[in-house]
């Protein structure tokens, strides 16, 4: 083989270039064309979606506010050794007085107070109260500042406040993340918060637990439906398929409001139960604004996402396998469990991951039918963005949620392949 090419020389294309190079060029051109077609959308998604999400993630560690508002104090505090347990010296207090004067004049002293208050409650009022007097400070001739500041507010004489300031002076902080996993920076590094302040890990646990419950309910309900759709004659199956697709196409809010109406204490389900006599009129069931309401409503909303992948897998299973198993003496149950069921596992896997991913990030339905006990971590993120305005903590919680989702997304891509997602 090698002898032949040596004597005959390289194979040439029509224009005289070696065929190998000509083919490589054609392939390169093809790749370029494909990329050029994709480029506009890719850029669009990167700018309008990926960049905002990355930017939000950066907020979870960003902490420029302290060093920007109190630059001199941060510099002076760098030399202070907190482990001695003594207050910083006069240099630091003088720097703080000068910083506070500038900040109060620019009216930004309350912002840094709010930021530090997340870590050490009470610091917001310390900055607010001192800020009122700080405008009149005479930096050149006043002092000594240590006595003066402590005189204005005793908070300046508290060791803990200074330690918090020093801990949160770098421009990058792990504080929000520690907060999001119910930890805080104590005297000897990170430590768990007291039991009664641990809320976020519990909430994340509840989110995962409820998503798992919803996924299991979906598997149980979707399996028979997918089976019957795959085994009925095409015409009937198409008719029934519409019953699955209609909820899929109906607005999420319509379905949520329907459940709100059905599950209310004066709603349709309770009315029927009272009418039938199962429940007394004065002891109507509480089935909304709790975990039960969220699980029922979300199972209904996510069920089509489980049925469709299961159905497309079951459709490909040859019915003669079941017949073969039975002819070899298997009972109905053995034939199903040993022959049919193993072949449907890919469908169950695909549906489960999809439903779990969608469930874990739900916001609207838990907010409307979940009350206080049936809310998800998304609701807490929304609360911190729009009500408590603790954006750093919201971003940290979001980053944790996103990490869980991305791991599942990666698993989905490995197991099912992104290309195989089907809609209707």
């Amino acid at each position: 083989m090698s002898d032949m090419t040596d004597t005959a020389g390289p194979v040439l294309a029509a224009d005289g270039t070696p065929l190998k190079r000509s083919l490589a060029r054609a392939l390169r051109r093809q790749k370029m064309r494909a990329l050029l077609l994709i480029a506009p959308l890719l850029i669009f998604i990167l700018v309008s979606f990926i960049l905002p999400v990355v930017d939000m993630l950066y907020r979870s560690v960003q902490n420029g506010i302290v060093s920007n508002t109190l630059p001199r104090t941060v510099e002076a505090l760098a030399d202070w050794d907190a482990s001695t347990g003594e207050l910083p010296d006069e240099v630091v207090f003088a720097a703080m007085a000068a910083d506070l004067k500038d900040a109060a004049e620019a009216k930004i002293h309350t912002k840094v107070g709010t930021r530090l208050n997340y870590e050490n409650p009470g610091m917001s009022s310390l900055f607010r109260k001192t800020g009122r007097k700080a405008k009149k400070f005479d930096i050149e001739n006043g002092g000594p500042w240590k006595e003066e500041l402590i005189d204005i507010n005793k908070g300046w004489g508290e060791f803990d406040n200074w330690r918090t300031l020093q801990t949160y002076s770098p421009a990058i902080t792990s504080g929000y993340f520690l907060n999001a996993v119910d930890m805080r920076v104590g005297t000897d590094g990170p430590e768990m918060r007291p039991e009664d302040e641990q809320i976020y890990m519990k909430l994340l646990g509840r989110t995962l637990w409820m998503s798992l419950a919803i996924t299991s309910c979906c598997i149980l309900l979707a399996y028979p439906v997918a089976w019957i759709l795959a085994n009925l004659p095409a015409r009937k199956a198409n008719m029934l398929m519409i019953l699955v697709l209609l909820p899929f196409w109906t607005s999420l809010l319509v379905r949520t409001s329907a459940w709100k109406i059905l599950l209310q204490q004066q709603g349709v389900i309770n009315d029927i139960l009272v009418y039938v006599g199962l429940v007394a009129d004065d002891s109507r069931l509480v089935i909304i604004n709790n975990q039960f309401g969220t699980i029922v409503a979300m199972t209904h909303i996510l069920l089509p996402f489980m049925i469709l992948p299961m159905y497309s897998v079951m459709q490909t299973i040859n019915p003669s396998y079941l017949r073969a198993a039975k002819s070899l003496g298997a009972t109905d149950w053995t034939a199903f469990w040993r022959v049919y069921f193993p072949q449907t596992v890919p469908g169950i896997g695909a549906g489960s991951i999809l439903v779990f991913i969608l469930a874990i990030g739900y916001y609207i339905t838990p907010a409307l039918v979940g009350g206080t006990k049936g809310t998800f971590i998304s609701n807490q993120i929304a609360f911190h963005i729009s009500t408590s305005l603790n954006w750093g903590l919201a971003s940290a919680l979001g980053a944790i949620l996103l990490a869980v989702v991305l791991v599942l997304y990666w698993a989905y891509d490995k197991i099912v392949g992104i290309d195989n997602v089907k809609l209707g």
């Binding site: 994709i38 209609l246 809010l253 209707g424």
Partner: protein, 284 residues
């Protein structure tokens, strides 16, 4: 399963019928909550349950007053207008960019295909609250928050995965020798695209467009964060309505939205069958 054989035992018979009953109940669970909204929206009272008059089919028990409220109330009308203005613009943006990219992705040699696909599908996977928060922070800095175009851009990004999925699915069955045949007969790439490729993938493109439309039309989380009161859409108005004092007008709106979804679903189903026929695949 398809039919009960004549030699089936009693146990098999019982299982066969009880299985059908179970399936019937699950289908009922799927469809009943949506259907229950429709009669309730004609309630003459401001209740969220069936009144005695309604159950005895007394005409007195029914009325169109919630619909009158929907069409007469400026809040609801503004919300409807905003939805109607935002959704088509977002759809147009995601369909035009999405179709181009889907054609690019279906070429035989695409470098980093998997990574690109994963990126383009990600808006569907990332929890909405995270997208909403990120867009809110980022768009505020760009001066886009609270503007019409800000909401359109955000919604277009959310609709893109659906366009990509449906159009690539149609392109899987596309016979590339057709474009080569057109080229061999002297058609330039643009003519080939419009005369050969486009008519064949059109059903997929339209389904993708309908998906993108419904995504934007139903979307509430992102618009709450990115939009301002001026961009209050129909779902947003419903969300506030459900959260604060729940008014029966919501039932009328819900019924109208169900009617729209039925229309869209029918269109998509017809298109899907047509596309399968065009590509010579047997209807399933």
């Amino acid at each position: 399963m398809s039919a009960l054989p004549p030699y089936a035992t009693t146990g098999q018979r019982v299982w066969y019928y009880s299985f059908r009953v179970i399936c019937g109940l699950i289908f009922f669970f799927l469809i009943a909550p949506i259907m229950v909204v429709i009669p309730l929206s004609f309630n003459a009272q401001d209740f969220f349950t069936f009144t005695k008059e309604m159950l005895s089919f007394d005409p007195e028990g029914y009325s169109l007053k919630h619909y009158r409220d929907f069409f007469g109330n400026p809040d609801w009308q503004d919300a409807l207008w905003n939805s109607v203005k935002i959704a088509p613009a977002a759809t147009l943006l995601s369909v035009s960019l999405g179709t181009l990219a889907a054609i690019g992705l279906s070429q035989p040699h695409v470098p980093f295909r998997r990574a690109i696909m994963a990126t383009l599908i990600s808006p569907m996977i990332v929890p909405l609250i995270i997208s909403a928060a990120g867009m809110y922070f980022f768009y505020s800095r760009m001066g886009l928050a609270g503007t019409y175009w800000g909401v359109v851009l955000a919604h277009a990004a959310l609709g893109i995965p659906f366009v990509i999925i449906t159009v690539t699915a149609t392109l899987v069955g596309f016979d590339h020798s057709l474009t080569r045949a057109a080229a061999s007969m002297g058609a330039n790439p643009v003519t080939t695209f419009y005369r050969i490729q486009m008519p064949l993938i059109l059903p997929g493109v339209i389904s993708g467009a309908l998906f993108a439309f419904i995504t934007s039309f139903d979307e509430v989380v992102v618009v709450i964060f990115v939009g301002s009161a001026k961009q209050q859409t129909l779902p947003w108005q419903m969300f506030t309505g459900l959260r604060e004092q729940i008014s029966p007008t919501i039932l009328a709106v819900a019924t109208i939205l169900v009617a729209i979804s039925i229309a869209l679903l029918t269109t998509v189903e017809l298109l899907r069958r047509r596309s399968e026929r065009l590509r010579g695949m047997s209807p399933t």
